[in-house]
Symmetry: C2
Subunit: 690 residues, 2 copies
Amino acid sequence: MTEVMTSTTAPASDGHTVDVAALGELLLGNWADVRRQARALAGNPELHKVEGLSHTEHRLRAFKQLGILVQQDGVHRAFPSRLGGNDDHGGNVAGFEELVLADPSVQIKAGVQWGLFGSAVMHLGSAEHQDKWLPGIMSLEIPGCFAMTEIGHGSDVASIATTATYDSSTGEFVINTPFRAAWKEYIGNAAVDGLAAVVFAQLITRGVNHGVHAFYVQLRDPATKEFFPGIDGLDDSIKGGLNGIDNGRLCFNNVRIPRSNLLNRYGDVTADGVYSSPIASPGRRFFTMLGTLVQGRVSLNGAAVAASKVALKIAIQYATERRQFNAASDTEEVVLMDYQRHQRRLLPLLATTYAATFAHEQLLVKFDGVFSGAHDSDEDRQDLETLAAALKSMTTWHALDTLQECREACGGAGFMVENRFTSLRADLDVYATFEGDNTVLLQLVAKRLLADYSKEFRNLDFGVLARFVVGQAADLTLNRTGLRQVAQFVADSGSPQKSAKALKDEDTQHELLVGRVQTMVADVAGALKEAAKLPKDKAAEIFNDNQNELIEAARAHAELLQWEAFTEALHRVEDAGTKKVLTRLRDLFGLGLIEKHLDWYLMNGRVSMQRARTLGPYINRLLAKLRPHALDLVDAFGYGPEHLRATIATGIERERQDEARDYFRIQRASSDGPVDEKVLIQRAKASAKK
Amino acid sequence: MTEVMTSTTAPASDGHTVDVAALGELLLGNWADVRRQARALAGNPELHKVEGLSHTEHRLRAFKQLGILVQQDGVHRAFPSRLGGNDDHGGNVAGFEELVLADPSVQIKAGVQWGLFGSAVMHLGSAEHQDKWLPGIMSLEIPGCFAMTEIGHGSDVASIATTATYDSSTGEFVINTPFRAAWKEYIGNAAVDGLAAVVFAQLITRGVNHGVHAFYVQLRDPATKEFFPGIDGLDDSIKGGLNGIDNGRLCFNNVRIPRSNLLNRYGDVTADGVYSSPIASPGRRFFTMLGTLVQGRVSLNGAAVAASKVALKIAIQYATERRQFNAASDTEEVVLMDYQRHQRRLLPLLATTYAATFAHEQLLVKFDGVFSGAHDSDEDRQDLETLAAALKSMTTWHALDTLQECREACGGAGFMVENRFTSLRADLDVYATFEGDNTVLLQLVAKRLLADYSKEFRNLDFGVLARFVVGQAADLTLNRTGLRQVAQFVADSGSPQKSAKALKDEDTQHELLVGRVQTMVADVAGALKEAAKLPKDKAAEIFNDNQNELIEAARAHAELLQWEAFTEALHRVEDAGTKKVLTRLRDLFGLGLIEKHLDWYLMNGRVSMQRARTLGPYINRLLAKLRPHALDLVDAFGYGPEHLRATIATGIERERQDEARDYFRIQRASSDGPVDEKVLIQRAKASAKK
């Protein structure tokens, strides 16, 4: 047995040491101080999820918790300084993300109130709107809703059917829900708490529909909490998770609001009903308005990464203490983390979590650049949208996979709600489909890849992409930052010889990952080429025949972005031991991606059969080398017991195992312990042979 | 647009028709009548899960529901006729499985009471034990526990540390929990309801430990519900699901029970402490005792398949009604099921569910053969164990994947608890790790594959397998039914030429799937060959280095078994249309497996690069051909609204969509509907050009 196989506390057998504190700082990133403050806040027991509450009790608690966030000054960073905020967009999201550690319901309910409802007033309204409503929104005096999604249209926001028709005779907009599918649905704060809402509706004036705009609508009488006349609602009741949030439906029966309640930054109507907008193109106007809401996706990305970290810390801590089955000796059982399969289950998820952390930090920097105004060109905004869509899809799915694998890796203990996995997983489940369904978001990314690949795809307007991103690409100039010269693909596609270099080489990994994205995009582009010339229905058929490939190309691109972010961060590490270990973790991530898509690499001649067969064994060796550092790598996440709150991560399993081993050690040493029947049989056989 | 793309009600465009009723009968299988009765029972609202109950309320309800099952005669089929049962083992499990439709908590609590606690008394006890305790167990007068698992040992039952030491001076066994890790844990009925328990403990008499045996122990005073002296417990409280069951811990502090409370079918102790057993080998004795409990795995397999069916029926129903995005026209939105990606998400899961259904039926027949005594040779029992382990792993994971994919495919609606997915998924989560952790079970299968491959592995006793299946293989003769001549592999391994045949050919699929299992087993066997000659610690290292491959070989074997079962069932279908459609579904399953493992087939030269590249497009064409039959294929499951109980499966989405389309149709036809700003811009551009 090697040292690795039998010990969990001995120093790493490879002589490398991770500087856990320095690595922790690297992971905290640009907004380290904000994160530390937010983690202190999230450690407050008053903010923690209490399991087993009914959904009505949980809602009451979550509402009170929002009040605590206000008192503790935890949620106003993004708002204007003149109203008591900090104009700090990146810091705001960084702090917000950490709230998932307390209770995802608190996080998402805060997101509804300040990130969606408040943000819509701030970004879509005028200074007067901000002055009028933001103080009450910030203080929670006006709990509110973000009423965009309808039963009939989730991801396809452009198709929502609620109307806001201007009546110049009274100077009012008439908000109306024309049929059942147009009820606003899954709206947070709608079932109970919401006094007002930002309602998205088709703005109609003088017989023309100017597309989706946002309106401020009072929902309930603050005194009675009853709906105002013309407004109706339904309670969504119990959900798969996030039950601290009172989601519900809203319906408007010709509800009249003043003209001044149109959040008019990107479109306004005069008293006599003349529409005007600073953005001439309706498509681009729609995209610009929705673009202000990208922070939802950015924050979910960060929250999903945080939940993955918590899960891995708990599961890996347990796996270094828990013993099961004796392989190498009759008396000593093996620590779970020493099993190859257990390493195969958890360490690639850890590598992906690191990649996702570094990629998220890049996204946050990009977001802050755009929203602070430091870097907010059209190109920056496009990049931000694409990056957020790509990464949010990857990390929200990754969090679910990680929570589930960790839960199973801890066996029955993983199923107990006290160990966090099942509760976090239930809450995070919906992250995969809200703030943009992941499958739809990946198609948004794919559209961008195609547009970058060739200008003929820049006006792509068939398929799912048609309405979702209509107008987005229309005004674009060719932009390569998102895709890194996909257009140059044909000239320098990877040759099999190159890929025959050792796969662990950083440049080889990069070349393989980039080459796959380029080729996949080129292949789909080739298949779609004729579609642009065909009638709409035929074009849609061709598009549909390639939908799966298109989505896979987008996924490949997102994986590449994560790999690049990990590698970039790696180059900033100075401590030699940490760098060595992190390089192995990055290799595990990169080679894991290549292994996952090995069929593609083989089919396309990028990796030889011989080389492919070496990949699995090489990854297994990497796992064994990373094993001694597994605990350091999760300790660097920097969570305290107030964040983990999992019985099995408290060291209790080690205590129990030690107690059991002591018992058997004493029994073996004593002369009156029972003898095993099998031993007697062996002895009998042995003496019979003599 | 083809008809398939635009219509959901039109007859299938390929001219084939599925005979839904006949297919339904095929799916109901050998115990069709029992299943119909059990489904009628499961349709009873009194047995349904009520969402949002606290765990204490849910427990009370579940306990009452067990009483209803007794009254309705739903749970006694396996018990002896002389005590009011039917001696019907297959029918018992078939009926039990369907209870998952009512509430998984009811199913599993019933499983604890009659399938584990009652079964243990029946199978491990004498006729006197049966006469004494079974009537009370059957009537629920004695709610009881199956106290096997300990905190420190889940899957490794042979290592449990609870002792039952015989004291000949009083004629009693002393049951004792020596340390905290030996507390019985996750025990259903332990927290509240259990009056008695079958406790598994190391039987020690005259200084010799004869291994794990089962003892009947009274836990609580029926009058006061208080623990008897010496017994202690803890409530596991809230879990990730199955909260209708009162799981808990049990601890025994030198609790004395009469000698006659040893369930003595496979091992007995005389009044003066002499141990005897009809099975000389302790290892084999252990395996035989545990073997009587295989029905837990068999039932979970069936329940997981049932849950997958419910999920697919709901999601596919919704996908044929729900419209989102307009691809082919400006006015008509596309039905979700017409999107290639949606087909890619749901139809392969449907194909796997069919394969799992047919494979489960074979398992159930095997189980019934062994337990009825009709076919209960050692070989039959070994086959049953292997088959149950292989299939239970596959289907419990499959159910989780299916429930999650269906939930996401239904977007926000999928997250609402009223649509079943999240609730079923939470409850079924633990199926992957209880009644044998899937990862451990696959290693059990792998051991069998190795033993069949070569006799030198028949005494394999290192690694995880050592204690888990100790004794199982020791007395085996070579047995080929499980593996279909793996040993002959070297002679006739598949050549690349053969695999170049059209992949859709049934024999080709079979050859590829069989070849993969054979080669993987042979490869692992080659790597492990020298291990047998090495010291235990070195052998364990080699074993560990191949653990992942070993598990993957077992999975490949399980997939092959499912494919063979599907194909066997296909050959029994007479109706031409049904046969055609089912053949495509089987092809989708088979080719899906080959696609999933395409890297392996390429690396090992079984599929050429050229052939591999045709696979994805071929599968996409299969999906499009299956699309028109998707609804028929889920309707054949035969569930009524009383089983589905999902709002989105009631046709409400179609109503809403029709209402919306009517609204827009009328608006387009009218002259005073609003004009789209985009249309005005286009018109302006057009007239400017003139």
